[in-house]
Subunit: 400 residues, 2 copies
């Protein structure tokens, strides 16, 4: 037994979240070390039974009555309230529905309109130049459709790029490629000091680390639910609009679900009050209620405990990689300081594509990001320290 | 046994679609006559098992590999091709995903851009004044964001309202309230004669009657899948873009799923060729694959056979209502000529709300539309003539 194997055992023995692992389906025929929960979270044990009930009883037997009697109609805001504490938001500010891309469009157009209501001269959107591409594409469309210019900037350079023309700024809390954690409090404060509105994409932070939306005065935020929230493939995303901005939030997608009186079937649009204003069309019930069941794994868990374990996992992975992998064979793209690290480790190596294929063949599942990045995500609710040691050891063997 | 009961038996005996009923879950504890399939289609028998497999095996065991190995990634266009023959479209023109409202936005903004590319002076959108409200609200946003004026018109008056300024026209194939079937071929021809683009909402026609998108040269179309296509609550909608317009289709929601190389993670947006250009974000897999299973009920069924039965069902319902319900107690809003009738019957009566409550209490499920409409939908794949006779009889008793 190596020293690191012994250390892994000790760390697992002291892990207060260890029991949560039993709430996920992990030990199937694959027997894998699953370090891809930042792409698709593992299946929570509670989900299959819930989905079977939603399909068989709620849809199959109760049919249309379920819109009221099974709570379908109010699911977007009810599940939004379930996500709220995980991102530091009080109730009544989040609705679930649509994809992340669609929510980026709502949030960014909404932010520009808020800014232009105060000052019609604001005609520029700043966007994270290193962002996940869809945010940049959608920001381009939001800019075009609101008459704004789009200006890509490195997040750390955003404060210097802010000015009188800035309407809105779209930033990622954690970079999807490198795992870099951006400084949400200070960047939000800088955006506000310039009189602009801050929109944050939480896809790679929600469920992995504290976000503090309310505490830091974030204006609008979006995130997906299929990574650290384990909602399932393509599960619906969410939109946060800060309570005191909701009255002025002017959605570019004013569907009937966001109407003050949706069943009034009125030809004039009167927006609903509150978070519900972020809804659009008929909510996607099967996926949404699967997500609701998946969120039950958070009962009794604090985001702070998750963050502590996440840092311990990535620290230990870096330690094992340092020990096992020959010097210079990989380059770590993820920042070492805790305050700059998300819940993943990205390693650059020239042959990352074939290396990841071999790792997956040996039961260590991460993913490859074009052109040369090995990406390993650490979901504290179900990844243990023995997994981490094994992953680093197999990686070293495949790189050797 | 009354004369109409005998007639119902005969009609059921001669119904070539009668056996399809066994492919749906209908005889639960409710024992209802379900005439609300135009709001939420009944559960097809194939769905629960498929969903259980998608959740338990594809997500739970294969996890991230399912994006390629279980065909998740290509589901939007594959299922689009499954819907295509039901609406008279050749393959490669439909993608499934997002809500109807979101697709109306894509289609209408796309149509305006096509028109303005030909002639920048076109700055007016015509919209069906009697439309389902969400189409009107979204059309208002599309108009606002493309610098157009929005002009509501009765569909029958659309030809007279068309002109040099018309960019796009958004019409409903079947009116959600009255069940009136609009003349898609002639209205589309009139829109084209004026140099504008036609967008059709097929929510209340797809799966109930022939649409003929290709035959009639429709430009863009959208529809939901949870009514006559039985996809389940809030199942994803679809977008049709005619093949020869796809190169010029310029989506207002250019998410990463519509990129020519989605996994290239490029910061510049290059739209994909073909129907895929209508995709946006990560597809909602659970709901989408439930829909795919639901569409299997169409194997061996022609839309023409469905239409013939639909008209026979609504004719027979009107005959039974005429026989059983006292003259003047209800007013039929649905047109009597077959060429103007969808697959529903709308009856106006002053106390429609409480009457529908009583009907539901007696196992005849339709729905109430504000302020005074009883709406009965007839899904030919699972509604029989005995159901129709019973519904009319119970209605007469409750109105009596």
């Amino acid at each position: 037994m190596s020293e690191l194997t012994v250390k892994a055992e000790k760390l697992d023995a002291g892990d207060e979240l260890a029991a949560k692992r039993t709430e996920f389906v992990l030990d199937g025929p694959e027997g894998a070390v699953y370090l891809d929960g930042n792409s698709l979270g593992a299946l929570p044990v509670a989900v299959p039974g819930r989905v079977a009930d939603v399909v068989g009883r709620q849809w199959g037997e109760m049919r249309i009555r379920s819109w009221t009697e099974s709570g379908w109609w109010t699911a977007p805001e009810r599940i939004g309230d379930r996500i709220a504490p995980l991102v530091g938001a009080a109730a009544g500010q989040i609705v679930v529905g649509d994809s992340t891309s669609v929510n980026v469009f709502k949030a960014l157009v909404g932010a520009v309109r808020l800014a232009q209501e105060n000052d019609p001269g604001r005609d520029e959107i700043l966007v994270d130049a290193t962002t996940f591409p869809t945010d940049g594409y959608i920001a381009g469309s939001a800019a075009r459709m609101t008459g704004c210019a789009l200006r890509p900037v490195e997040p750390s350079e955003a404060p210097g790029a802010l000015g009188e023309r800035t309407a809105a700024v779209l930033l990622n809390h954690v970079d999807y490629r490198t795992g870099r954690l951006h400084d949400l409090p200070s960047l939000t404060a800088a955006v506000h000091a310039a009189g602009a509105y801050a929109v944050w994409d939480l896809c790679h932070s929600a469920g992995a680390l504290p976000v503090g939306l309310d505490e830091h005065g974030v204006d609008l935020a979006v995130g997906c639910t299929y990574k650290y929230l384990n909602g399932g493939p393509g599960s619906p995303a969410y939109l946060y609009v800060r309570a005191d901005l909701q009255d002025r939030f002017d959605s570019p997608l004013p569907g009937w679900n966001s109407h003050a009186e949706p069943f009034g079937m009125r030809s004039d649009y009167t927006p609903a009050e509150g978070a519900v204003r972020g809804r659009v069309g008929t909510p996607d019930i099967l996926s949404m209620l699967a997500l609701e069941a998946a969120l039950e794994v958070w009962d009794g868990v604090t985001v702070e405990a998750v963050r502590a374990k996440s840092l311990a996992l990535t620290d230990f992975f870096l330690e094992c990689v340092g020990e096992y992998v020959p010097e210079g064979r990989v380059e770590c793209l993820t920042p070492l300081p805790h305050e700059e690290r998300g819940s993943q480790v990205a390693l650059r190596c020239a042959d990352a594509g074939p290396v990841m294929q071999r790792l997956i063949g040996r039961g260590v599942v991460g993913d490859f990001r074009h052109p040369d990045v090995l990406r390993f995500g650490f979901t504290p609710l179900y990844v243990g320290f023995a997994d981490v040691e094994r992953a680093a050891r197999v990686l070293a063997e495949e790189l050797g």
